[in-house]
């Protein structure tokens, strides 16, 4: 715990800014039902009203309060992104650890499969699968989680291979501990630091990916508030000089800039460059 606090204190300004930005968004998502002035789908005014006392940043293309929808959008998208990242980590870690500990043909087979899956451009693959199964939330979650688990597989396999050759793992094996026990009690706790860092990074990518899919109309469907589909719905306003779509798009940019600042700092630490 003290090591974590010390690390946080040594963070440069940019990383602190990033952490602040991410925290702000997470708070907005958590407190959405409490602080949102209107509900998610309530039509509260005329279409594309400018910012006023009643509507903090105006209304959207159907007259719904934009500020409330931004808050609920944060909640929806972050919740789904979290779910997807969690699922992809569970799948990726299990297969990765298995490949590292069992080794042999299972390792070869899994790694070849993952290599081929990773050779596919993710957006194209997701689009094609969604065209067949339709764009329901469960389908979305499973597809993106499976695609993302390939990266997690690579990392957890590499980390597990490093840990697996340690003496305490060998000792546990000699004690007669089973495969599952080994993975759960010896490998997993020691693999946490790089996996946690990767979780943050993958969460950001999943978030962007969902926003992109929703922007294309193939992700979270309306009327559920979601930043990507909000950009899509309000995109017509731009040609009239009404800058409504810039708000949800800017919100996406805000969150990803924050996460990127933090990740940049991590990479800088990990690379050990002196400057």
């Amino acid at each position: 715990m003290t090591a974590v606090l010390k690390l946080l204190r040594s963070a440069p300004f940019s990383a602190r800014l990033g952490m602040g930005m991410v925290l702000l968004t997470l708070l907005a998502a958590l407190l959405a039902p409490v602080i949102a002035p209107y509900s998610e789908t309530e039509v509260a005014g005329d279409v594309w009203l400018p910012a006023s006392g009643e509507h903090l940043i105006g209304t959207d293309n159907l007259g719904r309060d934009l500020f409330s929808r931004l808050l609920y959008g944060a909640r929806n998208t972050i919740a789904i992104a979290f779910l997807i990242t969690g699922l992809s980590f569970v799948v990726g870690i299990i297969w990765g650890f298995l490949a590292a500990t069992v080794g042999g043909w299972m390792d070869q087979l899994l790694s070849r499969c993952v290599d081929i899956l990773m050779a596919f451009p993710t957006l194209i693959f997701a689009l094609m699968v969604l065209s067949v199964v339709g764009t329901s939330i469960p389908a979305l979650v499973i597809v993106i989680a499976l695609l993302d688990s390939t990266r997690v597989y690579r990392l957890s396999r590499a980390v597990a291979m490093d840990i697996e050759v340690m003496e305490y793992v060998e000792a546990a094996r000699l004690r007669g501990e089973g495969l599952w026990w080994l993975m759960r009690h010896e490998i997993l706790p020691n693999a946490m630091p790089p996996l946690v860092a990767e979780f943050g990074l993958r969460f950001c990518f999943v978030f962007l990916f969902i926003a992109a899919l929703s922007f294309l109309g193939l992700g979270i469907q309306p009327p559920t508030a979601d930043w990507g589909s909000m950009v899509r719905e309000n995109s017509g306003a731009i040609t009239f000089g009404i800058y409504t779509p810039l708000w949800p798009a800017g919100a996406i940019a805000f969150l990803t800039v924050g996460v990127n600042l933090i990740v940049d700092w991590f990479l800088h630490i990990a690379s050990g460059l002196q400057d």
């Binding site: 693959f125 992109a212 294309l216 193939l218 731009i238 800039v257 990127n260 460059l273």
Partner: protein, 323 residues
């Protein structure tokens, strides 16, 4: 850069190319299988309310879903290689007609973007690495970090807001057709091109800068500096040749990314390219078009990644002459 030991490099290259071809083949299987193995009876899903037993039967016959899977796969692959991609479900026209000119359009957009982005990115990356930690470097770092964090459609809408709405210089809908000459086309695609170029340049510039900084901290550069060589000579004669391999790798990888980034930009600017077609046919569940355009995108992506690997093998003397 003569290949002094051709015998050493050929097995390495052919292994890599072989792997690429196998990947392409597996992808074609996946794309084909995807329509079969996924849950949801395709016929009923696409036909929706008009799904009576007769129409479902006719639909399955048209997509040849009644043949055995492996027979159908080879029939599909054979037709594909001959250029017959089947007919679109939406408008019954041959898919090949739909795809060919749109693919050319997408390549045009990507090509123009690449021609702008690559020189700018490499030049900026080298300059940023040379003047590391100065104000110039920090400013560029902030600019590129922001650009790669923003989703492409955000950059696109900002550019539309600035250059199309506020100051009406460029069109916000990039519509091109055969009648336009080259310069008219360039004018029409200026905004989508700029959007893509900004994102790709940001990626490439950061990676180039990192690669060159990596090389500048090597012992032989330190030696050259200690010997008292002029800075320009150190950079051009000693650092740059070693930077070729990673920089070429970076460029090729970003070209591959460009293939996918094109999809979103085409949707924002309603550009008649392959990406726009793919997204439209996914919403309409026009399966033959989705399969064909998906396969083309995937193949281009895989081939560009393959090119990146091959080029970085060829330009790295240690890999050219393996012991």
């Amino acid at each position: 850069m003569a290949l002094s030991n051709v015998k050493g490099i050929v097995p390495l290259l052919s292994k890599r190319i072989g792997l690429g071809l196998v990947t392409l083949w597996v992808i074609s299987v996946l794309i084909f299988v995807g329509v079969e193995a996924l849950p949801g009876d395709l016929a009923e899903a696409v036909l929706g309310q008009s799904a009576t037993p007769e129409t479902v039967e006719a639909f399955r016959k048209e997509l040849k879903l009644d043949m055995a899977p492996h027979v159908r796969y080879f029939a599909w692959l054979g037709a594909f290689v001959r250029g017959d991609f089947g007919n679109s479900l939406a408008n019954k026209r041959p898919v090949a007609d739909l795809i060919s000119w749109r693919f050319a359009n997408s390549l045009f957009l990507a090509g123009v973007t690449a021609m702008i982005a690559v020189p700018v990115a490499v030049l900026l990356g080298i300059l940023a690495a040379l003047y590391r930690n100065t104000l110039f470097d920090r400013l560029i770092s902030i600019a590129t970090l922001s650009t790669i964090s923003f989703p492409e459609f955000f950059v696109a809408y900002i550019l539309i807001a600035l250059l199309s709405v506020q100051v009406a210089i460029f069109p916000s809908i990039a519509n091109i057709n055969e009648q336009m000459n080259f310069w008219q086309k360039l004018y029409a695609i200026f905004l989508p091109c700029l959007t893509l170029a900004m994102v790709v340049t940001a990626h490439m510039m950061r990676q180039t800068r990192a690669a060159i900084i990596n090389i500048l901290s090597s012992p032989f550069i330190e030696m050259a500096n200690l010997k008292g060589l002029r800075r320009l000579r150190v950079v051009v004669r000693h650092a740059f040749p070693n930077a070729l391999s990673p920089v070429i790798n970076v460029i090729a990888l970003n070209l591959a990314y460009l293939v996918v980034g094109v999809v979103i930009v085409e949707v924002v600017f309603v550009y008649p390219g392959l990406g726009q077609l793919l997204v439209d046919s996914v919403s309409k569940r026009d399966i033959p078009v989705v399969q064909a355009s998906g396969l083309i995108f995937a193949a281009t992506y895989v081939l560009l990644n393959l090119l990146a690997d091959v080029l970085s093998i060829v330009s790295n003397p240690r890999l050219r002459n393996p012991r």
